[in-house]
Amino acid sequence: MDADPSRQVRVRFVTKLPPPLRAPPVAIAVPADLSRMGLSEIVNSLLAAAEPDHKAQPFDFLVDGELVRLPLQQFLLAKGISAERVLELEYVKAVAPKKQDEHCPHDDWVSAVDGSNPSFILTGCYDGLARLWKDAAECTHILEGHSDAITSTRFISKGVETDGSLHIVTGSKDRSLRLYKCDTPVSMDYPKRIGAYKILRGHTSSVQSVTVDPSRDMLCSGSWDSTIKLWAVEGSEEDGDAVSLKKRRMNSDSSGPEESQLEGSATSTLLGHTQCVTAVTWPEQQTIYSASWDHSIRQWDVQSVKETWNVFCGKALNCLDCGGEGSSLIAAGGSDPVLRVWDPRKPGTLAPVFQFSSHSSWITACKWHPSSWFHLVSSSFDGKVMLWDLRTAWPLASVDSHKDKVLCADWWKGDSVISGGADSKLCIASGIEIV
């Protein structure tokens, strides 16, 4: 630590990381013009002094809950923090993908991706097929049946269910939702083709977004016909109601010798949006959030099927996700390069609490990290996937592996970001350490 005589700041490094990564909590003087790389070096050398076999790694530094993105002196000036006192610098592991892979070639644009299952990745494609990829390597299942591009897919069950099968719902531009059931213990050289066991019809235009409620009993879908429909997952073979049975019979005539398909209809419809509903999310049992091209985000009460809250942002919205602190912040992006975060608990104001504007084109997807309150991923037509931290306005990292528009993105296993785009690729950026 060469002491620069011009300006020095006394800092103390603290952390919540486990002991091998814990630096001695003594105040040391560091040059004031250090940026986070220099600070990172200091911490690494401190750690190496304590433990010789320490491997150097990048760290990020927090001052009063804000990530340091400028040289320390400028940061303190900008934030109006006194440089006289001992500055407490909390360090966390830097969030950046260590590895970027291009896996899983598709036949057409990848329009939907779901990474909520730790062992499988679910993708939807413009060729009307949804695919299941085991460990991001091999395609185990191909879910067929849609006659038009798939726009949204979801695992209904988080993990592998007791009977060893996965339940999946897909929404498509052919105006229907399909439910699939996949058996997980597969050991085949070629992907298994599976047809839907249930078709949910009712939308009069493309289904844009599908989501599952927390209890996994209900589905919700938003469509170009500007309605949101709620569907019951139940109605599988054993307790299919009369209507669906009847329809099955009718359907069986036309569908021929294929395996029998159930049909279901919506349990309720949420009316209120005036244009295409592009995104729906169901964070709590009683609440649905929806985003639409009519520039609004609406909150719906499931029981009363009523709109309870709304916010207008002035731009057509493409994506929406709930997460963050207490899973109550709403992130949404749309027809401009700004990712906005609202706090519906904040009374009186409808202005976004955070705005992230490093993208250069429409934002197509945004997702909160499943466990962190601060981390977001967003994808955009500019071909970039960006990682965000609420504690700084700059992106943590940008994944440039796509050559064309990125249409969807999600977290996978808590440490990877998966994204699909118009270059028919599914990209996986892994090794993102979020503690």
Binding site: S111, Y126, S205, Q275, W293, G314, A316, P337, W362
Partner: protein, 680 residues
Amino acid sequence: MGHSDGEHQLEGDDLSADDASWSDGVWSEDDDEGSGSGSGSGSGSGSDADSDEAAAEESDSSEDEVAPRNTVGDVPLEWYKEEEHIGYDIDGRKIKKRDREGRIEAYLKNADDAKNWRKIYDEYNDEEVQITKEEAKIISRLLKGKTPHGNVDPYPDYVDWFEYEDKGHPLSSAPEPKRRFVPSKWEQKKVVKLVRAIRNGWIKFDKPKEENNLYLLWGDETDTAENKRHGLSYIPAPKPNLPGHEESYNPSVEFIPTQEEIDSYQLMYEEDRPKFIPKRFECLRSVPAYEKALREGFDRCLDLYLCPRTRKKRINIDPESLKPKLPSKKDLRPYPKTCYLEFKGHMGPVTSISVEITGQWLASGSCDGTIRVWEVETGRCAKVWNVGGDVRRIAWNPLPERPILAAIVGHDLLLINAEVGSEEVQMRAKELLKIDEMAPQDNTDGKKPAVRWMKHEKLDGITLIHHKAVSNVEWHFKGDYFTTVVPSGDTRAVLLHQLTKKHSHHPFRKLPGLPVAATFHPTQKMFFVATKKFVQVYDLQKAQLVKKLESGFREISSISIHPGGDNVIVGSKDGKLCWFDTDLSTRPYKALKIHSKDITNVTFHRKYPLFASSSEDCTAYVCHGMVYSDLNQNPLIVPLEILRGHSSSDGRGVLDCKFHPKQPWLFTAGADSVIRLYCD
């Protein structure tokens, strides 16, 4: 004043005081004095009187010297009548009254005494005063009106001390004339005149402004105000440059160029060469005559003579103040400004685009012989039809449940099913597009029929074979009727077609020029036909001309109707756009010269107060065009944004522009075979 007056007065006074002179107080006082001094002499010795006289002669006023014995002052003496004293002397002692003599005694005394007539009784001091002879003489002289002293000559001979006889002075000894003492009548008249002038304000008493007496001693004479005041415009001659140090006869060494430098001047251009090369002379005597003096003098004269003496009049106006007051662009948001999405896939210039009414799909036609349908949200090409000919124009049926595209392919019109929407919608569309092979038309007049409805086998659609090339197609808002324009079709130039009945007719027989475009009123049964110079407004029900809008352009290229129906914008082939308020006038309300090349299309937004124009100069222009429901308020037009991005291909730029029906977005189709979406 006059001497004579004074003399008269004196005389008059004397006369009037004649009777009372003896009893007067003035006289008595004089007598007192005399008697005072006389009493002393009367009671004492005559030497006293003599000394008194001497004293009187010596001083001017004997009165001051001899104070009265009594000191009671000027009080009535009656107060002391009953007392034994008459007053008090200067020491405060009482002055006793003398024993009063009896009258007879006094009379006798008077008779005896020869001097008695000179005696006077002084009541104040209770004394008898004897007047001296001289005093008596003076008194008697005064009584006679003579000077007190006999040796005074009141009328001495006038001695004329001034000698004027030989002096030549104009003085006259004539008495002052009367007019010298009487106020002058002429002066009075003059005063009256002045008073009147002052009252009427002809004469002012404001001090005249003091002229500035300062002047620039070394200033330029030509610049003074005097020169400017002349009627002819005076322009000062331009000044010759002042000489510098190097032009001195003996400049410092550093000014003198070396021989190399002088040689290097030869390499320069004639006009770049320095005019003067400094030289050094020991003394002024050795300076030769300036060889160019005559030449330069002549040049200077020539300059002055040839100088164009015109005065430019400049008005200082802030150019900003001449601009009309427009609202700020910030307040007019949203409007398209940034391109976020490009629709790539066409292989030739995209000639026309049309957005589906819900805003989900975009159809485009291109010179590469394809019609494409794009997904607006992702820019993905959803469908391609190869129609085998240049697609000139494409229009999406405005009903969401009728996904039918009308496209002009080559010479004819093609109706195809866009194959979007649910099955039953597509079924219905298919049914609409079903046509039995046409029964032979009534060919009685022997002419080729204007339109034949034919089945298009390959694309499962309908072709409307026109008798001549079609240039434009436009749907009615209800989605059943549509119109096509055949510019060279004479009386059958504008055709109306009905989709459900597969029927066509041509109601407009007479048009003032070649028709360019035709369109329906967005809400009423009206019809607009744009010919090269005019826009004709027809009432479809009454089948008559309602209005004729005069654009003043050489050639109209496109027309768009405001969703309210009362305002029309027209784009022309010389890059101008004009806005008609049909309620206001048949002349343009505003004309905007915004493009440098032909305008290819103009369009209104259905929801937002926006309109746009696209041009061959590779730009599209977005303007704010607010129409107020208040009829008194004129539409507000504000240019907002120039959208660039398309590149020129074959000299053609942007060929079409359409607004998204629900979002403030603009699609532009370029000759560079790209469709761009500009978002707010």
